[in-house]
Point group: C2
Chain length 812, copies 2
Amino acid sequence: MAVSMDDDVPLILTLDEGGSSASAPLDDLDREELPNESKITLSLFPAHCDSLACFSLCSGCSFFSARHNWEMNYQEAAIYLQEGENNDKFFTHPKNAKALAAYLFAHNHLFYLMELSTALLLLLLSLCEAPAVPMLRLGIFVHATLELFALIVVVFELSMKMRWLGFQTFIRHKRTMVKTCVLFVQFIEAIVVLVRQTSHVRITRALRCIFLVDCRYCGAVRRNLRQIFQSLPPFIDILLLLLFFMVIFAILGELYLWKIEVYFNTLENSLVNLFVLLTTSNFPDVMMPSYARNPWSCVFFIVYLSIELYFIMNLLLAVVFDTFNDIEKRKFKSLLLHKRTAIQHAYRLLITKQRPSGVSFKHFEGLLRFYKPRMCARERYLTFKALNQSNTPLVSLKDFYNFYEVVGLKWKAKRNREHWFDDLPRTAFLIFKGINILVKSRVFQYSMYTVVAVNGIWILVETFMLQGGNFFSRNVPWSYIVFLTIYGVELLLKTTGLGPVEYLSSGWNLFDFSVTLFAFLGLMALAFNMEPFYFIVVLRPLQLLRLFKLKKRYRNVLDTMFELFPRMASLGLTLLIFYYCFAIVGMEFFAGVVYPNCCNTSTVADSYRWVNHTVGNKTVVEEGYYYLNNFDNILNSFVTLFELTVVNDWYIIMEGVTSQTTHWSRLYFMIFYIVTMVVMTIIVAFILDAFVFRMNYTRKNQDSEEDNGIVLEKEISKEEVVGIIELYKRSSAAAETAQLQKIVLQMDKYGQMSTLFLGRRSRTKSDLSMKMYEEEIQVCGPKLEIPASLSDEACQSLLSGSGYRLCRCESQ
Amino acid sequence: MAVSMDDDVPLILTLDEGGSSASAPLDDLDREELPNESKITLSLFPAHCDSLACFSLCSGCSFFSARHNWEMNYQEAAIYLQEGENNDKFFTHPKNAKALAAYLFAHNHLFYLMELSTALLLLLLSLCEAPAVPMLRLGIFVHATLELFALIVVVFELSMKMRWLGFQTFIRHKRTMVKTCVLFVQFIEAIVVLVRQTSHVRITRALRCIFLVDCRYCGAVRRNLRQIFQSLPPFIDILLLLLFFMVIFAILGELYLWKIEVYFNTLENSLVNLFVLLTTSNFPDVMMPSYARNPWSCVFFIVYLSIELYFIMNLLLAVVFDTFNDIEKRKFKSLLLHKRTAIQHAYRLLITKQRPSGVSFKHFEGLLRFYKPRMCARERYLTFKALNQSNTPLVSLKDFYNFYEVVGLKWKAKRNREHWFDDLPRTAFLIFKGINILVKSRVFQYSMYTVVAVNGIWILVETFMLQGGNFFSRNVPWSYIVFLTIYGVELLLKTTGLGPVEYLSSGWNLFDFSVTLFAFLGLMALAFNMEPFYFIVVLRPLQLLRLFKLKKRYRNVLDTMFELFPRMASLGLTLLIFYYCFAIVGMEFFAGVVYPNCCNTSTVADSYRWVNHTVGNKTVVEEGYYYLNNFDNILNSFVTLFELTVVNDWYIIMEGVTSQTTHWSRLYFMIFYIVTMVVMTIIVAFILDAFVFRMNYTRKNQDSEEDNGIVLEKEISKEEVVGIIELYKRSSAAAETAQLQKIVLQMDKYGQMSTLFLGRRSRTKSDLSMKMYEEEIQVCGPKLEIPASLSDEACQSLLSGSGYRLCRCESQ
């Protein structure tokens, strides 16, 4: 689409290719021509939208030169829409052609993958560095060189970012600045290591996580971290209340129990033991000596636990849950506003001076070519039609606001045939129809449930009978074959009866399919005696999960589980990042301090004992095993930290390490406990929130049928398609033309004048939130925000004929 | 007020004093006279109100004879209102004069106290029965006689109830029937014990709780129990999911780990250990043997804990929280409807044939005489005025619906003077005014906070310095006296500056006051060396709680804490009732099974050991102490059960008992764990709900000032008072007349024509809920519910002139 072809001129002109950001404002004549529109676009921002975005919009004109190049406009609009989608702030928007090149270079999956792999390489280096996992130990020269290499790649990435952002924006961007500082420190330390040929105490390695957190793919982790930090202030408040009561009880404990209890002989001991008691992991041991002497001393412990554990800890959860809930709502609102702002930016780049009231298909198509290059011509037109609710040739801003909802739809011609076998010959059709009816019948379903139940009981009985025997005998048990055959037949029937596509479109069927496949692989492994694959055999009981499909609540719960999974995974990753930091610190300070019989002077000596008795003529090994919970390498550290997370008996690990180092080590363990408590509380709050949200949603839409996602219907007539073909022919886009001509041919074949298309996508959390918060979140988007100082009459006269209704939005 | 005085006839006539329930419907003439009204009252019930209440209203007329007795009407209306307030179902409403006598006998605090004390006596008997607390042991003859006596009292109570309810209703009332059965069983068993002169296995003693639960004063406990039972179905569903995964992992564990782990050698062991692992209390010990042999086996445990502990357990909380939330809302709605129905009942008894559109003051006053006998005449009139928003002499039904909100107000004449010392002479006034300003100044407040903070640090340092020394030395420390003096002066200043009434009306001041008082008592105890009161001294650090007043969040949290306290106490009581049941069962089965060195053959032998070594010439006692956690008497059982509730190391107690009995004993412990889990989850859900509710409420009313409760203002003119006096004089109520005349005298003294009265009460949860659920709970009360089959026009014509608006309520 050459510039000369343009019969219209964009209202706003985009990036200056020469890099000279000489401001060339629209001339006065143009402005006079379109007074209404430009006023509206400028005042469209809600009063409470972030001022930065406002700034970038209002002063936007000054960045652009006067060269009329639609392609540039399309690209910039596409970038705006991407920024809106990814929640990138608009002040990072590329400002000139050089920046644009860097932006495009830094925004594709190859670059993202490079980012991710560098970060992972840096993190994984700790497997091979100083207290290394024995099998993976590398020479200092090797791992320092690897580190330097990875750091250089990071330098390259950062320089690309600087090129794209410009120096000014770069140093204003906090996360990037932190990353740069960490990079600098790491660089120096890596060189020092290389020069000295020996590792020094490098706690700063714990900061390597920032490289992972900054990855494009780890957006969810960043969100989680932000949420954790936002929940911190109320959390800390309640924590102080908790600690306050702890101190009071420590004083009480020391005053009352010191005479009879070793646990409360000093204030420090008293505090430490009450802290551990808060985690319940030294209960009832901490109580027993005083309880043995005076039964009433149990009152002290019962009151303490009731207040701290059962009241304030729950209050903590309540406060975090409340904050979390509130943040979720506000986040959703600000995301929505951000998206709307992005859409406004893009819209302004696509309207023309001649037709300022909307975007024509030609320009919309140009936008989509950059925004979704893989979209075919038919889908582009359908998207345009779906957006355009007024049936005029132009899409107004109000309609354009639905962009993100509509662009995700997958379009398919609606077919009249119901089943995949409708086109087959009569006999085959009847057979398949029969199978279809059978498969869909309740009898079939319930008999399958019965089979699964019987199978479950069978496995249980088998396991019970097999006690002590070797489960993996040579002969494959016949029951295995029988049940597998039944499942196989069911799978076959369902696939043929429903058609493979429909069969696999249900998550439950997919689950059945993979479990049956695994069972089959397990059978193969057994039959051919491939020992490493035996683990597949034991996955068989998972079949039983199918039984839970029977009850609606389970379907709900399990569906929620699947929906939660990505978010849970990102929370897990966040936890792992904290683990990594603590593991590095732990390794630097506590590597090699615990070993068998290390702590014979401490109160937890038994747990670290390793003695070889000889009783009679038999050697008895008395093993405490706790020396295995050490910080000797990063894998061990992770397991130890997981044990600390589970909390039970964590004080044994703490006391063991403390007895070998100083009592300040306890701080490490206590801080770790508090950090995991924060993360765990957030996880609980998240599950609570997600589940309650989902349940409320289900309750609100009880009468509506099964959730099939979002479905839209659009009809396209033959004339329309021919018109589009003309348009493409003019811009000599051969591929698109050919594709569209195929549709015309098909219409001719079936003698239709129009085809119905169905657009489908699954419902996202955003859709649900939109519906749930309808009342609470008043989006000022399509309405025009009026400053409060204006009188209503003034506004009315201002708005008359503009198509906007008067609305006073709640101030945030 | 004699019958002959009545110049009006009640629309509906009440209880037949002769007891003959011969139905005497209103004659046709009466009905013809008041067609509109009787239609409205009959159709006033919302379509979804419980059918029972509808029945009792619609067929209500048939219970009443034609004797015109207003007093009876007043009393019955008062009973209806009481039933509405206490959420008693209307089918227990007394139906004739005999029943009424029994009803009145069974509904006063003396009777309630008797109920409560009998129940407590029965429960406390277990302190003295067979495995008795050593100090409280009683002879079998004594405690069996006591029990028989208590049971006879219960029989008496039940017979009163039967008299009041009638046999038909009595056997329809489930709780009462259960109580009767339990009573019967207990009776027989008590006699058997008395005859055989020896206690047999009496697990049924666990059922004694029903007597406590059925007490009038334990309504909150009954509510909790109902809520627990209502939350059970979803809870059990998720529990099954939990157990399902447990079984799968048990099978996996047995198949994979049995070769290397003692914990997984049989399916039963595997299951038990995974159950204990779910409570984390055998972690990491259960993992260590296999971890020592193969580090990768930790994956099994990590996956298990992640799924079960961190996911499904949280899901459990989420499901319970969701159900709880939902139940709370529905409960509030049904309570509201119940109250409205009660008000409708009462209203119908108070309107007259002559004036069917409302209740006159005379009848309202009659009602209040029964409903709140202690209310004085002035308050009765003010309540009437507050209800009556239309300023006509009659209170309409719509206004009458506010009865419960208004009747709780405490009325006081509004005084012009601001401070208590306004009437004092000039000099004194100036002094007190100065103190008032000083006390209210920020400087004073913050310097007090500083003093408290210094005091806190002082105590901390003191305790730290005192390590090992005796805290309770003879000499009272001077710091104690100094700080106490400061607090005393503060208290004095505040009391004089604000006036004692205003000072003590704030909860925080009350707290200050009592802490200072306790500190003073502590000082006395120290000075006069009264050792048993030393514990008061250590309450001093509670002063520090005042510091938390500084921050708004703490104020919120602590206020919520205080508000939650009654409900928390009732939840605690509910837990104690479960404890009681389990303690009785535990005592019957496990009394005396654990003792020092009892379990040397089990895996937890160490914890039960008690050995007297002689090392050199020193005797070293190696003590495991766990034998103290036994079921030897009810107090010990309670402590043991608390330890089981805290969950840590509970398997040691379980294994100890199991090794001495059969492995079926584990069932007892596991069931107890699940029961406490249910109750604890409910507690968490309750705290979450209450807190989130409160926070949302605060957020919604952010702009409104400090919450001062509900305040209403009403002005009474002299003429009104004189009118009322006339009314009372006619009914020759001397006390009321005298009281009202005092008001007239006072008005005359100050030369006022009218006095302004302020009605005040604290805001209740019900008020808050009303405001919060405004949108969600559509109460059909004051609006007239129309059957869906009627067309809107038909309704409109029906309603024209009736004063009701058309509303279609959501169906439940």
